[in-house]
Assembly symmetry: C2
Homo-oligomer: 457 residues x 2
């Protein structure tokens, strides 16, 4: 007679050492020569290009993803559609009218309001920080084009994005509440090229949308120099974005079925949509390349204990819509652990976890597997970024593989996010780290939870 599945599972759980059937070190080292991640990144950025959430380009990207996941041998590649409101860019231009006439380069922020087709002309009210704008009396802002500067610098862990990104996320609503005609910010970025950094912002309740855009860093510095001359500065601004109503987006997913359906799903994610200015190579085609290549490598080594689910989320950039849709649809499935790659394609320097203390032996095994390729062990306070955050917030374990973000914000959300920026050596190290991580946790029966629900990130 056959043993009941529960007894088999219990036996299995009692012998974790035996459960690690894959040679993690060999898989890891082979992945240092990976070209699957490159092929996916090259293919998606070349054959689709930009893929703004909710547009026909993102729909083409979903179809492309299904074909590719199928060709790679994943099980049941499929699209889970959802509806979303869509905002699209229009004309955008800015020029100093006086005292020194010249054009400046900028791009509208997501959900920006529009100027009339002929633009608006108003005096600039400049603030060195968001705090200065917040502290300003309405009289200083009303009817003006607000300019907010800041001092974001590059950081390995991207922490400066948290600190300075608030200027983009909250600045427009603050300016609108004070009666500003429009707001332009110094791009939330760290490069000095004439490429603006777009990004989403949302209007707080009851606030009237106003035109909102980001100047390139060279242009922000130029405007600052012009203002420093001490004369009133007048700008003409044209921004004609529009909301085109509800459209379809969707998540693409596929699996490597595990031996034990009850062992929970190892979810490895990325996002398929991109901003519209570049081709979304580092944000986030490379993330899809990395997690998919790693899952494929583990799949080719044999059937893992746990099911591995690869999810290419839709509509991340515009507000984690795919991650939220996924959580709503899949909250009742057992997820063993969540991980996402969405911070470029440079090398992994650290891993962090959010697992139960009883699972620390798995963390030790991860540390052993990752140390040889230069990945240090971090804290057990990982919260999960972007698309996995909604599900992670409900109390699902998380593993974060931290990429070097030193140059990420040179490119993030700009026209410059293109394939040529990918460093293939670093990309392969990334795949090796992900391969080692997936091979470890997908074959280890140790429960990583329970963990307390969080607020997400």
């Amino acid at each position: 007679m056959r043993l009941p599945a529960a007894i088999l599972a219990a036996t299995f759980l009692a012998t974790p050492a035996l459960a690690q059937t894959m040679d993690v070190a060999a898989l890891r080292d082979a992945a240092l020569k990976d070209d699957i991640a490159w092929s996916i990144t090259e293919g998606l950025t070349t054959e689709v290009g930009q893929r703004l959430a909710g547009t026909e380009a993102e729909a083409r990207a979903r179809n492309w993803a299904v074909v590719r996941l199928n060709a790679l041998g994943f099980s049941n590649p499929r699209i889970e559609p959802f509806q979303m409101p869509v905002w699209v860019r229009g004309e955008e231009s800015a020029e100093i009218v006086s005292p020194f006439p010249q054009k400046l380069v900028l791009a509208a922020l997501g959900n920006s309001g529009a100027t009339p087709a002929g633009g608006i002309t108003a005096e600039i009210a400049a603030f060195p920080t968001l705090a200065a704008l917040e502290a300003a009396p309405e009289a200083q802002v009303r009817g003006k084009i607000v300019f907010v500067d800041h001092a974001m610098g590059a950081t390995q862990d991207g922490s400066s994005y948290g600190a300075f990104g608030v200027t983009r996320r909250k600045g427009p609503s603050i300016a609108s509440r004070k009666g500003a005609a429009a707001i332009i910010i110094r791009s939330i970025g760290t490069d000095f090229h004439r490429n603006p950094h777009t990004g989403v912002q949302s209007w707080t309740d009851g606030v009237k949308p106003i035109p909102a855009a980001a100047l390139t860093l060279p242009d922000a510095e130029q405007l600052k120099r012009i203002l420093a001359r001490g004369k009133p500065v007048t700008m003409k601004l044209v921004l004609t974005p529009k909301n085109i109503g509800p459209r379809e987006s969707g998540n693409v997913m596929a699996e490597v079925p595990g031996r034990d359906p009850k062992a929970g799903i190892v979810l490895v994610g990325c996002h398929l949509d991109s901003w519209d200015l570049g081709t979304g190579a580092i944000d986030d085609a490379s993330g899809c390349g990395i997690v998919t290549a790693a899952a494929k490598r583990v799949m080719d080594a044999g059937t893992p204990l746990r099911t591995i689910r690869v999810v290419w989320f839709g509509a991340e950039e515009v507000g984690l819509l795919g991650g939220t849709a996924y959580r709503n649809a899949h909250i009742n499935e057992k997820h063993a652990v969540l991980a996402e790659s969405d911070f470029g394609a440079d090398r992994i320097y650290r891993f962090q976890t959010y697992v139960n203390q009883a699972a620390m032996p798995v963390v030790a095994r991860l540390a052993q597997a990752l140390e040889p390729i230069g990945v240090a062990k971090g804290s057990n306070t990982a919260r999960g970024g972007s698309d996995i955050a909604p599900l992670a917030a409900t109390g699902v374990p998380v593993i974060s593989l931290s990429q070097d973000g030193s140059r990420y914000f040179d490119l993030h959300h700009t026209p410059d996010d293109t394939l040529d920026k990918i460093d293939r050596i670093q990309l392969s190290q990334n795949v090796a780290a992900w391969t080692a991580m997936i091979a470890t946790v997908a074959n280890d029966p140790t429960e990583l939870g329970p963990v307390a629900p969080t607020e997400g990130e």
Copy 2:
């Protein structure tokens, strides 16, 4: 009684060692802390911005230059106007229609023809080099949008611009003669940012102007990848530049009067106009900053033997119009030597001359003055670049201070040519080299000519 001037002069000429009344080494070393060049570069790029030849922006720049040269204490700052035909940019956009719809980033080349307002749509005919286009039968080109790629790399001396720039200068006429609907080239540049490199090209006699533009390098690579898929590639192209007829341009000049009007003029030049996409910081506001700062430093050290003339040429980018106007107006004045700074703001690594063999002692003194700041002695085959070329071609001695051009073509003629690209340490070394050079030749009575006329560069 007073000695006749001619006898005084003869006495002077016989004692060249005594003639070097300035402490060249001290002037040079003081210039390593120069901030005049920075101030000029910052001021011109901030208070005027782009200054396309023949436009009102270039006129504002001329007025700005006169005010600044006057404030610095130069003699007789003045504008010498001339007329020129003016071409201005219009709308410009490109998109792949099939097989992979997406926008590409480009900029029209100078004197480009225009498409209808609604654009043209045609298949791409791609060539890896200009030679391949030249060799192609008309049937392969007729009615197509020609794409010409190339393999320009960075060089310290800028020699790759000579080798690959021909694609921009001659490609459009070759394509037109074969019946192309339009031509797009890989930008003549070495960076990988989404900033196209514009530049002038002229239609050879009898050739019909067609739309002609340069793709950014990331876009050229993208197009190449798309073409490599082996399917016909169709592009929609919109370019609406126009010729707006004859307008005024002009050269701005001023002097440091020398003790001996017969000793000839030391002309130090730069060009005031810029391309329209950036603010012309390295091309060539910094050149004006460098030569003017150096001349000012020599002026402040005492009256030199020879008159130093600073010339900020107009309309260089569109065909050396200012240099030609200057030659025509001033060919009968005695110029002792010509020098121009028009290759960015990075450090001087070499000097070259074109002087009579009898003047080699002056070259030796230059070498001695420049060696301590890392400037090596080059050949005696300098020909003079850009604006001084027309006059140099008539047989006037030349001194070239060679700037490191390793990153010059990352920025050249792009929106990215902005102030933030200036390295102030290198800029000061540049001023020090120019100061040492001017202090040496303006105080040395040795005749640098005669030299044989050349074809110029």
